[in-house]
């Protein structure tokens, strides 16, 4: 930690910083420069109260050299976290796992039909919203627990694992009961009550990056979940807020290698929300895999023109099959494997 003094800080103010650092139990190393002096704090063990130093007279800013997160960092655990789902899919260990499905669960026919198409194309995790956070209170908000039951039904039929979103602490329990992965959406990335509850669940958590969240803030939110005892967190890049209205969000694929250098947690990409445009999903899904993503989350709808939400960014099932072929080639090109397709015979087939 470096305490940077104002250029007109007095010797007494510099001495005040040195004294406070010593009171806190650390060593102080003043670094004079032509414009200003900085004071290094030697021996930082991650427990320094920076607020106190930042408020001292003559201090311009505090520069943090260490990161504020711990358990999510590569320093804490060098080898990658691998999350193994009950259907055999692994996330984080050299495989590329594909999660796909409609924005919302709308009916039994819709979800069972599309799940079978997705399984046949090679996806191994089914997504579908039962509780939908919508910008407007007047938009369709999802089928709720009924949607969760339909997802569980689709799992029985296809063998696909289920990922679906929880939007409040009580919802975490409901989702954990029916699903394989609990999703925390971008709007709730800093909803700490929700994160803590997810940290006490016994299921993996998919944590989406907030619209204006830095990588550091994303990792700190993941830290909330690990700090409660749940080590199985999958991060997800889904686009940040940008200034160009050509796309819905600005997909920040560089965040993938940045996260992988800082953390042992797996990270996937969601090019459907990341672009908001059906025609851009395929190239950006390819790009995400090429950038090293551990998986993808893709919106597919059996009939996008009649979808109750996000129709314009949902792929047709045929486009999804084509996408799977393309990403398989890239996956192999960079020395990774697609998560093995599910061969399980659907339960209802006699």
């Amino acid at each position: 930690m470096l305490v940077v003094m104002s250029h007109d800080a007095t010797p007494e103010e510099i001495e005040g910083v040195v004294r406070t650092i010593r009171e806190l139990g650390y060593e102080a190393a003043p670094i004079p420069g032509k414009q200003r002096t900085a004071v290094g704090l030697v021996g930082n063990d991650g427990k320094v109260n920076a607020d106190r130093l930042e408020s001292l007279a003559g201090v311009r800013e505090i520069i943090h050299v260490s990161q504020p997160y711990k358990q999510v960092s590569r320093e804490w655990r060098a080898e990658p976290t691998i999350i193994r789902l009950s259907n055999g899919t692994e996330i984080g260990g050299g495989q590329v796992a594909v999660m796909a499905g409609p924005c919302s669960v709308e009916s039994e026919a819709q979800i069972l039909g599309v799940a079978e198409q997705l399984r046949a194309a090679g996806a191994t995790v089914l997504r579908g919203g039962a509780f939908k956070p919508r910008s407007s209170p007047y938009s369709f908000q999802g089928l709720g627990v009924q949607g969760l039951r339909l997802l569980a039904r689709a799992r029985e039929e296809t063998g696909m694992a289920i990922v679906t979103e929880a939007v409040d602490p009580e919802g975490v329990d409901a989702v954990a009961e029916y699903a394989d992965i609990i999703q925390i959406g971008a709007r709730n990335m800093q909803n700490y009550s929700l994160l803590r509850r997810a940290g006490r669940a016994r299921k993996p958590v998919l944590l989406k990056r907030g619209m204006a969240a830095t990588v550091k803030e994303l990792l700190l939110s993941a830290e909330y979940i690990l700090a409660e005892g749940n080590p199985e967190v999958i991060l997800c890049e889904r686009g940040v807020r940008g200034f160009d209205t050509h796309t819905r969000n600005l997909l920040d694929l560089t965040a993938i290698p940045v996260v992988q250098a800082l953390s042992h947690l797996p990270i996937i990409a969601d090019p459907s929300h990341g672009t908001g445009l059906r025609a851009k999903v395929i190239p950006m899904a390819r790009a995400a895999v090429a950038a090293g993503a551990d998986g993808l989350m893709i919106e597919v709808h059996p009939d996008p023109e009649r979808a109750l939400s996000d129709g314009a960014q949902s792929l047709f099932p045929d486009q999804f099959s084509e996408l799977m072929e393309q990403i398989a080639v890239i996956t192999h090109a960079i020395g990774k494997e697609m998560a093995p397709a599910l061969t399980r015979t659907p339960a209802l087939v006699p």
Copy 2:
């Protein structure tokens, strides 16, 4: 609503849009241009399912002419909403109301001491965090219900109204029991479960703009509260995410007149979080009032150098008194009034 076709949309695709609009029960008005055709939807009553149109073949984009929010808009209610607190302060009706206090409630001595200083300087609403959303799980998270009790104590002593944050649905009930205004923080602006619960509370709600929220999204979040039956919402501009690290956030003061043109709800500014720098709070508080803000929220700490959170952006009590004098002059200069100071004799004085 305008449905813009791709430049190479076929006549059949244009006809498909016209037909769908008619099926939905509206009139369609094609508008041909040199590059492309657009189709106007005539008679929009705010219930059109745009997702359905957006997914039709040949459609490039949907342009919304009407706004998706209703009850928060000036169209719904032309005269400004005025929120009257039990201590007489009015927010939204030509007065400038000042809310001030420490980031966190830390102890009885701290909160009672600073409250009396703030009241003497002219503030009429006391802020102080009891439940603190913090980026790191290892930071101080607030005193919880004990903090709420100390705030209520400070109200008895000074007559100031209380505003404090709720961070989850259950917390709304606790805050509503002790405080006069329930604050929803920027990180929770799109936490819809929380918004709905606040919409069912019988207390005014202070809703802070999210870090990457557009004005439209802020108004839609307020709509969630009104839609549940609570018409008393105060909006708050507190800075959006910017690219320049000189300040913690980028205070978007233009949002104040923008909101006032679109909505009847009052809007205040928080220059403490908006800048993150004590030395910028005074000029930006002045600027917010000059821009037409209905009030201010300011962090003041009796001893910022020892604050448990946000010390570097908290004013000293003396600075706050100076600020109050400056904004009083600007308030009068633009034809408004400061909310009347509280003259109530503290209860403990014999």
Copy 3:
């Protein structure tokens, strides 16, 4: 300067950094921490080649404690730079100077007519584009030298000083011949050939902040002008790129006190471009003055409905008069003075 090492940097790599710092002629102060070591460079005189250190093995990043600009900084010159125009207006010394006029010079009648109205309302500097940088090659690009002559004519008539934009190195000479202040537009803030030429001109330069420029980059661009020998630079905040399309740009008024703390140069605000909306110009002009701006630049057109450019953000002359009254009150409220109005009798009056 602080050289931050990777968490897995070897002792040899740390030693390599220490050795290189010493080779460069400075002292090195290692600062070990729990996660990683940093190495302070002691005695930085502003000439360190950071690129060389940044590339060494084991280095994660370089943190600059000193600023890369010199002559523009408060460290270089503590008292504010005051720019005195020939008509008596002072910019930077406690006065608020108002520059106003149409986006483009369109005709003699237009510019002479509006200039007289502006002078009467109290503006002392006339703006008007002769060379117009336009996003589209097919938009009106200005009258060129003929526009400069009309501006000079308006100065004779009214006594107002002239500010107008130069868009290329040769244009600087033409503008310097006719105008009192050479404007460098936001799009050219990092056009270094243009900055250097302006640095060799004998006229003050108004430098607008680029759309995505940090305050540091703005100051570095000003440094180019000072480094060539021209100390008279006026900075201008005119809005940065934002994500909300409600306004054309995001006016960053906090940049005003931020610049004033870092630099001795005056800074004004342009709420016309900063908001892009006529109805927001008045509140944001008031806010800019309240934030401490040394002046304003405002677009006013005698007939905005027929303007060749920027009509929708131009004030009507009557609105401008009203604005001048409002900002005068705020100027006095914060202890400053309006630049004295011009009383000179127009030359054509017999």
Copy 4:
């Protein structure tokens, strides 16, 4: 074009808009809605003066349905523009062309040495700055014309084509004399004098996207070059300004398919500036190719630890060779070809 009226626009104001549209020679189609009325302008031929309509009483905003650019658009020319360099490399026609080299030309040994390594690895275009735009006036600004001569020398030796930046109108002529492609940097994307001069040159132009430029603004800047008669423009995505300081810029790879849908011009990516971090260049170069880029621009330095600029983002030659192998696999995976490597024997070999 759609003229959206304020919700409280009077029938007279709506009638005023209809009348003005007819005066301008177009048809008007009013589209009433529940909240407000909009008026469609039928028959837009791209010459409507929107400023005039935007300023009329009662108008809230103008929505442009057609794009303001012409010659760069897919509507103007459906088939892709292919730029053929004299050494056989094609840009834009299904090949992936790689441009590589140091940030700055520093010496004959440096540029000749690295050029030969790059050619051997398969690059066919050599980059290297002779005129360097630098944020600080005190940084190394390039060797100027001497640098251009060294680049020409390297072309003789290796057969590589040359791309280098021009920073002012006169510099365009010098660069056009020595180089094969004239680069316009991000900071000059809206330097229209420079664009016009490049439009009159007889060499292809590489136009980099500005830091805060929308895709529409990038295309409008390209339109300046085409409008002057030069149809050979290569666009380049090199990262936009983001809020996360983990990377130098935010590489917006989605812009690649977005541009390809709107324009016939080729677009390449520069992951070196786009990330600013050596370790992220390889994954993001792979991602750019997977997203469909027509080429790459990569910084490579023979000894990054001693580079005079951008050392920390320059690859080592060995890393570049590895990168070339990886992107070749992805290029083939998506059905494209690498531009054929140069087999020409260096001229100086006896």
